[in-house]
């Protein structure tokens, strides 16, 4: 064997071995978590907000959310955090500029811009469609706040002084957060706190359920009623639907 042959053969051998060991590695990287076989797969949580039944002066869902999720309230609008909030919207289409009170929360988009921009994949979409933040991983860069077209994201400039629900963590200072559809309650087979509170008031404006389950109340409303999502033209595909918007 001359020198040229030796180099040719050793090169070929190296290529073969790297293929044998490298290909399984590559496939294991790409097949992570996205194969739809996880325990959350198959569900697609959504919410319908019936603004006709929502009372303007009612704060049941807002209070319930704060109590359940330890959402910080410092009585200073620079630092206050709202997972669900009430906003007065005036219509540009109508000349009378009539104001409408609308509940806004994280829309848990099917194409979440916040998750796309997160540089550390702290924000991500679970297999059941809920967009959540892994606060252990969040570095507090606030890209998600810039990306979210619904201004649903808030930053913890200060730690929450109160801790109403001891079984649920609060957030330390320096991480972003937003509504999680009460994922911890859904995992236990319960309804989100805001929905429960709304039902308790008798208004029943909030309905939450599985959009993939055709027998659920949410899918019936979405299919039969004239529901709207906010700015469908942005292509974010929100999963919070409004009636009477």
């Amino acid at each position: 064997m001359n020198r040229r042959k030796f180099f040719e053969k050793s090169g070929a051998a190296l290529a073969c071995t790297s293929c044998v060991f490298g290909l399984p590695l590559l496939s294991s990287c790409s097949a992570r978590e996205e194969d739809g076989s996880g325990p959350l797969a198959g569900r697609r949580w959504g919410m319908v907000i019936d603004l006709n039944r929502c009372a303007d002066d009612c704060t049941a869902c807002l209070d319930a959310c704060r109590q359940e999720n330890n959402v910080a309230y410092h009585e200073d609008e620079r630092w206050d955090i709202h997972w669900i909030r009430r906003v007065n919207v005036s219509s540009e289409e109508h000349d009378d500029h009539s104001e409408k009170s609308v509940l806004l929360l994280c829309n848990h988009c099917d194409n979440p811009p916040c998750a796309q921009v997160c540089p550390v994949q702290a924000t991500y979409k679970r297999e059941d469609g809920i967009v959540v933040v892994d606060h252990h991983r969040c570095i507090g860069c606030r890209y998600c706040m810039i990306a979210c077209p619904y201004n649903a994201r808030y930053f913890n400039y200060l730690e929450n002084p109160d801790w109403p629900n001891k079984d649920f963590p609060r957030r330390s200072h320096g991480v972003a957060e937003s509504c999680t559809f009460c994922a911890h309650r859904l995992d236990q087979g319960r309804q989100p706190a805001c929905v429960e509170a709304c039902r308790a008031t008798g208004n029943g404006a909030l309905t939450h359920g599985d959009l993939n389950d055709s027998s659920s109340e949410v899918s019936r409303l979405v299919a039969e009623e004239p529901v709207k999502t906010i700015r469908e033209d942005w292509g974010t595909a929100p999963k919070v639907y409004y009636l009477g918007l």
């Binding site: 959350l40 002084p161 801790w163």
Partner: protein, 141 residues
Amino acid sequence: MSIQEKVSSLFRDNNRVAVLVFVLVIIAPFGYSVVRPVFTQGSSTDEVFLDIPDEGECVRETAYMRYHHMDLLKEVREDVIRNGIRGEISVNGCRECHTYRGQFCNQCHEAVTLHVDCFGCHYYPESPEDSVRLESGGHDE
């Protein structure tokens, strides 16, 4: 001749001194940690190990929990946050037997100088009095 010049000439003229000083500076911290237990008697980590609750059994055996509880918690964390699997193990679950972190977490973590940042977000009273303070709506830390 100024001091600075003297020192620099010493190093220039006598390489051995320079090497000796360099080596001493490098090994001093290691040497200190080796020698320290001799001088600080009675602070061996064995004695700092935490109190074990009187009753019940932990989710894993003591030896594993002592050295690998953080790995277990990370595994559980991944399951809960990423996959939505909420099993029996949780920080809230720890609290049922290991009631106060002053007694069951801090003591050991201080001995090995490891800072835990679990409790900025996860509720875990530092002492019995702390629990009462928080129940009445006080501020933590």
